[in-house]
Assembly symmetry: C2
């Protein structure tokens, strides 16, 4: 039985539906020197915590991307010592793979950086990460889609990134997962991703337009998906962490 789970979520707009759904309350003492924020509560018998990257104090805009995600995960693991990390958020996906806006995907196999190019033998593979993720096959009955998540620091997808995503078999394109997974792996905490699709990166439409238009739909579906997973885990004493 899993009793202690931490969500790592980049943006407050992605996190708020979950905070409401699970009735979490903010931990004001979390990371006083950093922008990251944390919420805590208990739902269906599971201790839940949720950490966001926080906001830029000058712009009021959410911090997104890999540096913030690495620090958020580090603080979360240190503070809450979770048995399982869930990196929840929104992402892009490929229409040609059958993805639709609003679809909810679980990570499978591994997460990879698609924009860490170091063409020196050994460093090439290491820089991409190829971090193993928790066996989401155990959630198969919940009916989610499955895909390899790849991570980069940009919302767009120039040729160089697309070429790497295709080589890596990437099906979900996000901006945090591999950074979260790296820090989780350093601390030997199992991690997986749940990602709701805001935009189809091969649609020909600008990602940023689609992202903003579809953010609410995606975050609602993300929240529903997380609720179903936590409910399932609470009712599944035999679930394996390794």
């Amino acid at each position: 039985m899993i009793e202690n789970i931490t969500f790592i979520i980049a943006m407050e707009a992605e996190a708020m539906p979950l905070i409401d759904k699970f009735g979490l309350t903010e931990e004001a003492a979390f990371s006083p020197k950093l922008p990251m924020r944390a919420w805590k509560g208990k739902w269906q018998g599971i201790n839940l915590t949720l950490v966001t990257n926080g906001k830029n104090k000058d712009t009021g805009l959410d911090l997104i991307g890999c540096e913030a995600a690495a620090l958020a995960t580090f603080q979360a693991v240190k503070e809450f010592q979770p048995q399982l990390l869930i990196n929840a958020g929104t992402a892009g996906a490929f229409e040609e793979n059958g993805a639709r806006v609003g679809d909810v995907y679980l990570s499978r196999d591994r997460v990879v950086f698609h924009d860490h190019r170091v063409p020196i033998p050994g460093w090439d593979h290491q820089s991409e990460g190829h971090f193993p993720v928790w066996d989401t096959g155990q959630l198969r009955t919940l009916g989610f889609k499955y895909g390899i998540v790849t991570t980069g620091s940009s919302l767009d997808m120039p040729q160089e990134d697309e070429k790497n995503i295709r080589r890596l078999g990437g099906e979900i394109k996000d901006m945090e997962a591999a950074a979260v997974a790296w820090v989780a792996l350093l601390h030997e905490v199992p991690v997986f991703c749940i990602k709701a699709v805001t935009d189809l990166v091969d649609s020909g439409k600008p990602t940023h337009d689609e992202f903003l238009r579809n953010l609410r739909l995606a975050t609602n579906n993300l929240c529903d998906g997380c609720e179903r997973i936590i409910r399932f885990l609470a009712q599944s004493p035999d679930i394996r962490l390794r």
Copy 2:
């Protein structure tokens, strides 16, 4: 008078000449759960600490890049509370700007991410960082070259990155500086970069070949440059931190 300075250095090959020069000894208790390593000592009356990203435990290769640099800087600031951070390392530069292999540059003005593209108003500028750096003009008499440092997670420079570097006025291309500067800024610790040139990114030669061939020359020059800076700071009671 500055009494407490921390160097943030990605690779051990870059750090070792400095560790020897300053007679630093390892702090075995630094970050036991993380790969980062730290060394400590006193030289010319200044307390010096030095933190490296550490190595991947499976490959034995140095961890390079922004996620590791962010965690290393966070741990360094928390543990050593430096008055000044110096991000020292090797980097690429532009032949067309007069750079030569082995040249040592100091950062000027700001450091910027050249591969964090988020084309949404507000997020575009925020994601690039544009983090102010410490006023290296105070070191002008030491005769270093000066340049705007831009950071990305890759050793190569595809068109998209080159376009951004040119737009940003980038003269030194590295893989950690902006991540270090972001964490320094969060903690209100002044930071600057000293970067020795391993490769000319506009030479037409593959960066990785140049990088490996010129690493020793660059790290020796980097070490000499750091020594001259620390000696100068030790003899400059009027140096301004802000």
